[in-house]
């Protein structure tokens, strides 16, 4: 097929426009404080000093975000994977209703959830704690995870489950040794998204973990700069760049896993 180069040129221009804010963030993050307001198109007054500030000030927040992200992934998988197996292979009365409930759950505004959580957490005394935030963040990912895994597990041939059952395997064993390994790629996908969403979360962090000090996630590290008297754009943009790394990694890594995932289930049996 003929490949018209002008289309590529247009596509590159459109992509450049779309990604300009991202470029601008990187540009500012490498520009010396005195020159940021000049708004040069490239960081002519180049510096990495803002990144030194990030290393000095933001490491606890980054570590907290990592911890909360991993915790959210673990909790999400623990809840979603067995439920998805139940929904896809062992339907029970009300499973349709449960599926419906999961869709509705995704429509609940986060502000409503955070108000409810805030009141409950105040009473329980778990405001400003990492486990509290993990639980709240997991509510973003769990319905999605159950739905995605159910859709995938439904595609696993019934014969495979039944063959294992005839061989005397319990449901738990079938789940652990047959279904989970086959679903590996979907599990990785779900994990990546659960991680990314909790890493990116602003609403729950800013409501349920406002006074957690260094045990607040990186989104709050950035938010602190906004509240400051004299907004420090350099360190702020450098922190933003660092906080964007998981998204960049996901864009590169997730492709590989899901690309394999969609076909793997069908090919392996």
């Amino acid at each position: 097929m003929r490949r018209p180069p002008w289309k590529t040129v247009i596509a590159i221009i459109l992509t450049a426009i779309m990604l300009f804010p991202v470029y601008w963030m990187i540009n500012v993050s490498f520009t010396r404080r005195a020159s940021i307001r000049k708004g040069d198109l490239v960081p002519r007054d180049f510096t990495v000093e803002h990144y030194a500030v990030v290393l000095r000030d933001q490491l606890p927040h980054l570590a907290t975000s990592l911890l909360i992200g991993l915790g959210t992934v673990a909790l999400t998988l623990l809840l979603a994977a067995p439920a998805a197996y139940g929904l896809s292979k062992l339907p029970f009365p009300g499973s349709r209703g449960l599926a419906f409930g999961l869709i509705v759950a995704q429509m609940v505004p986060a502000v409503v959830m955070s108000l409810g959580f805030y009141s409950i957490y105040t009473r329980l005394g778990i405001l400003n704690t990492v486990p509290g935030l993990i639980v709240a963040d997991s509510t973003i990912a769990v319905p999605f995870a159950v739905m995605l895994l159910t859709a995938f597990m439904t595609g696993i041939p019934r014969e495979m489950v039944e063959a294992a059952r005839i061989d005397g395997a319990s449901h738990g064993r079938v789940f652990w040794s047959v279904v989970l390994p086959l679903s590996r790629n979907s599990l990785i996908t779900v994990s990546l998204f659960a991680f990314l969403w909790s890493w990116s979360d602003f609403i729950f962090a800013s409501t349920l973990n406002r006074e957690g000090g260094s045990l607040r996630p990186i989104t709050m590290g950035i938010y602190d700069y906004i509240g400051a008297q004299n907004q420090e754009w350099g360190p702020m943009m450098a922190t933003a760049v660092v906080a964007s790394i998981p998204a960049a990694v996901l864009l590169v890594v997730a492709q590989k896993y899901v690309a394999a995932g969609v076909t793997a289930g069908a090919v392996k049996d």
């Binding site: 596509a11 139940g86 062992l90």
Partner: protein
């Protein structure tokens, strides 16, 4: 979905986003003996949904029916006041203004996200050019970035004195715009939100385009239909179900947006929506001096009802499409 055997570039992430729009869970009828095992596997999820969805939701609604002050919030015993708080909130001088702003933010966002997303989807779908998959993947970046990152970058770009947007306007001889002042705030947060939402629309509409048989276009072009005619006679009608789903999901998502608005303007001036109003009353600056959790919960519940109405319309249409 099965049509694409080779998945490269961004299709992985797209697959996820497409899943978001396709919530139908296939459930087949099975033997009776499996029932209890199924319930056992789903039990943790059921307990979780009860504890961490239903309970906070109920808590939110309960709060909107009681009048809380600082003392009763911590120690309990707030008096039950029925729908008084709702009456006060709806009777508030700014209520209808906020509703109108919410509507404007949502509608303009949706219309622009959909149009831009569709234009890009058609452009990439016609494809046949180098780097098309890679560049389409790059378009996902705004959707993947933490909103706090996007919000702060837009805030800086819209800085009246040093922002790059005003510098760009200056090149064309236009005067600076006070993007984030109380009058222009709604326009500015809408622009940023459109930017955030284009990837979602692009991906869903692109996957919709892939399900339109290519022979239709071939036949049409043999009959002499131009690209424009093909778009209106083939693409748009056949994309209708996907379009409706995209728009309705967008509505549900956009109605409840807090983060991008709050980060850019703290809901100042015209950028106040129901969601940021609720958030601000409970958690905003100075909110700790006057406790307004009850009012925040009432506004949140109103928002919840509106979101659910659109959500149920979406589900009804989705179901009709499946049958």
């Amino acid at each position: 979905m099965g049509a694409r055997s080779v998945r490269t570039g961004a299709s992985a992430v797209e697959e996820e986003m497409t899943q978001l729009a396709r919530p139908g869970l296939p459930v087949t009828r099975r033997r009776h003996s499996t029932t209890w095992a199924g319930i056992a596997f789903a039990a943790p999820l059921l307990a979780y949904l009860g504890l961490f969805y239903a309970y906070p939701l109920g808590e939110n609604i309960a709060m909107s029916l009681q009048r809380f002050d600082r003392g009763t919030f911590v120690h309990g015993g707030a008096p039950f006041v029925g729908f008084d708080i709702y009456r006060e909130v709806v009777g508030d001088a700014k209520f209808w203004r906020v509703v109108a702003q919410t509507g404007s933010f949502t509608l303009v966002s949706i219309i622009c996200q959909y149009s831009i997303g569709l234009a890009l989807a058609v452009f990439f779908h016609r494809g046949g050019f180098r780097l098309s998959t890679v560049l389409r993947g790059m378009f996902l970046v705004p959707w993947l970035l933490p909103v706090i990152v996007s919000g702060t970058v837009w805030q800086w770009m819209m800085n009246p004195d040093n922002g790059v947007l005003n510098s760009a306007l200056g090149v064309f001889g236009a005067g600076p715009v006070w993007w984030l002042n109380s009058h222009n705030a709604l326009m500015s947060v809408t622009i940023a939100n459109i930017w955030l939402g284009v990837p979602f629309n692009l991906v869903i509409l692109y996957s919709g385009l892939q399900n339109i048989p290519a022979d239709l276009y071939a036949a049409a072009s043999i009959d002499g239909a131009g690209a424009w005619q093909q778009f209106w006679r083939i693409t748009m009608p056949l994309l209708r179900p996907v379009s409706i789903i995209t728009v309705l999901l967008g509505l549900v998502y956009t109605l409840k947006v807090v983060d991008i608005i709050w980060i850019m303007t703290m809901g100042a001036g015209t950028s106040q929506t129901l969601a940021t109003w609720s958030y601000g009353m409970a958690f905003g600056k100075g909110a700790s001096t006057v406790i307004r959790y009850s009012q925040a919960s009432a506004v949140g519940t109103i928002l919840l009802v509106v979101a659910l109405v659109f959500g149920l319309v979406y589900l009804a249409l989705q179901r009709r499409g499946e049958d």
